[in-house]
Symmetry: C2
Subunit: 338 residues, 2 copies
DNA sequence: ATGAAAGCGCTAACAT
DNA sequence: ATGTTAGCGCTTTCAT
């Protein structure tokens, strides 16, 4: 169907090898013949087949990226960072959205393996998904470089770029405490997500450090989606012993929380205070004074891709490297105790 | 390096063909041999190479999707819709973000062609990018089905799913007029974008219909990004003859507009009214009463993928089909003239 | 400077 | 029910 290298060879009266040479700028080709070939390529509108090339070269120049939710600006930014570095390295990318589902994560991994990608950057949905971890291990043993981004995987030893989540929520909760809050609720992610776990830990640590009792009634497990933030906030504001502040473990749940508060006509920080993980640019644009614990997402994406690039270059024997970046505190007033 | 079908064949003492048969569930294989093979596959941890398979089958089972900005929730939703249908059809997807750049659009098209994708869904950045259109034409002539989504391409005749943009902004502006507004500014997209053009046209139509003069000083061209909405709004509120309402042609610019208004302490709709294209779920979550002209994005994505599926099935001779969906008016109060 | 030919991993006739 | 073999489109060694 499509035009092949053979057609070009015939049309320009040379061999396949010579065409391949001009295609790849390799070896010697007389200027005259090169021109003939280039012309034939243009006339026949030839485009090389990456498929055939990959098979022959035994390399695809494609990497795989797996994230739980493309529509979440947090991952959007990570992806932007990855893309920037990947583009420069002339690597193409297959992007997989797992929709926060472990099952789809496995599917994505399988897809990527079948496509013979050179390496993988993954932001795992959960860190206790055993089948997912096993698959990652298998891939690693097959010599495929894996770089974790933003989420860890239990009992594993992959390179990766992470955020110091414990530190982040510790500091965030500390700010609340310093403002005078003693009753602080937390909406964290699924218990099997490492970042969620760490963010909860930082929360507890801050309370303990300040000799404030950690109350189970104040700990709520969401699923990182907006709706769970909404529902859990509704629960929180119905609590008999209502907290004076809510600590939120991710951006989407923060949105849900704000929606619930709005509906209940509860004003921040007049009626309740808020401290939230993951900056929401939009809220800041809107002049909503929510205080954030913000991750350097673009930077994280870039770092992850650079790590992958290193592994790709040094082939098999790249060492495991784990980079931990610190979040930044953006105080805008929502943490105040009025 | 990797395990191949040959290794499986050897290990289980059969021929390549037989292994291929169990892999593809085609032809007859004795249960006994099948088991041997399946076992070998598991033991050696074999995963077929999509590359080799594609080359041999002359089909990749991959489609390409090109959008101007993954991080824009509008396109995020379109992609979700596409993905849903594509998943069901067992088609994989290469997603390309052009960053609103015509150049990157061409690059993406080339990449997709090299990857021998089966079809393309594209949301074009501009409709006057001649090289882009030419490339699309070439691909179409090569027998690759093209489906436009949400944006048209000048002088072309591709299938596609579109929004009735003229109708949308006509109705939106009409609402403003009915509220009593006479001085209505518009921030539209780049002049070479079809949707932007149509949205401007609907705006003009509504004014003319109501015998309101169309004033050039009230027409502003942005680039669909937040910053341009911000900058242009700042200009608008400095106008001597300040408009009482602003009509916005997309979601990102609306954000910028709101940011500018916030900074200037201008309240909506008390001081100025707003009507905006593209629903921003976030604003609604936040209880901000902005009125929208909203596109059925998920539906549009699905429709586009279904269209592509049809073309894929009927091979070469699918006819051009253009689906136009109507936007929905979501009135929340920001259109009021106070 | 160019060509011949083997091979990348798989599929799909065709044979047996 | 299974095997043989000729490609798929390209790269790359080895000749010439």
């Amino acid at each position: 169907m499509a035009v092949t290298i053979k057609d070009i060879a015939i049309k320009s009266g040379v061999s396949l090898a010579t065409v391949s040479r001009v295609l790849n700028d390799s070896g010697y080709v007389k200027d005259e013949t090169r021109e003939k070939i280039v012309q034939a390529i243009e006339e026949l509108n030839y485009t090389p087949s990456a498929i055939a090339r990959s098979l022959s070269r035994k390399q695809t120049n494609v990497i795989g990226v797996i994230v739980p939710d493309i529509n979440n600006p947090h991952f959007g930014e990570l992806i932007k960072g990855i893309t920037k570095v990947a583009d420069n390295a002339n690597l193409n990318m297959i992007l997989c959205d797992t929709d926060e589902s472990g099952e789809k994560e496995i599917k994505a991994l399988k897809l990527l393996q079948e496509q013979r990608i050179e390496g993988i950057i993954i932001s795992p949905t959960s860190n206790e998904n055993d089948s997912s971890r096993e698959y990652l291990d298998t891939l690693k043993n097959l010599g495929i470089p894996i770089v974790l981004l933003d989420g860890d995987v239990k009992n594993s030893n992959f390179s990766g770029v992470f955020l110091d989540n414990i530190k982040g929520s510790y500091e965030g909760v500390n700010v609340l405490i310093n403002e005078g809050h003693k009753k602080i609720a937390i909406i964290t992610g699924r218990i099997n997500s490492k970042p969620a776990k760490d963010r909860l830990e930082g929360y507890k640590k801050a309370l303990q450090k300040n000799k404030i009792e950690v109350k189970d009634e104040y700990i709520f497990y969401g699923d990182y989606r907006e709706d769970s933030g909404y529902e859990l906030t509704k629960k929180i504001i119905k609590l008999k012993d209502k907290p004076t502040a809510i600590f939120l473990s991710n951006n989407m749940m923060t949105l849900g929380c704000i929606r619930a508060l709005n509906e209940a006509k509860i004003k921040v920080p007049r009626d309740i205070s808020i401290m939230a993980f993951d900056k929401l640019q939009i809220l800041m644009s809107l002049g909503m004074n929510i205080s954030f614990i913000s991750a350097p997402t673009l930077e994280m994406g870039k770092s992850a891709m650079k790590l992958l690039l290193e592994s790709l270059k040094s082939k098999n024997k790249a060492q495991v490297k784990r980079i931990v970046l610190s979040p930044e505190l953006l105080l805008n007033g929502s943490e105040k105790l009025v």
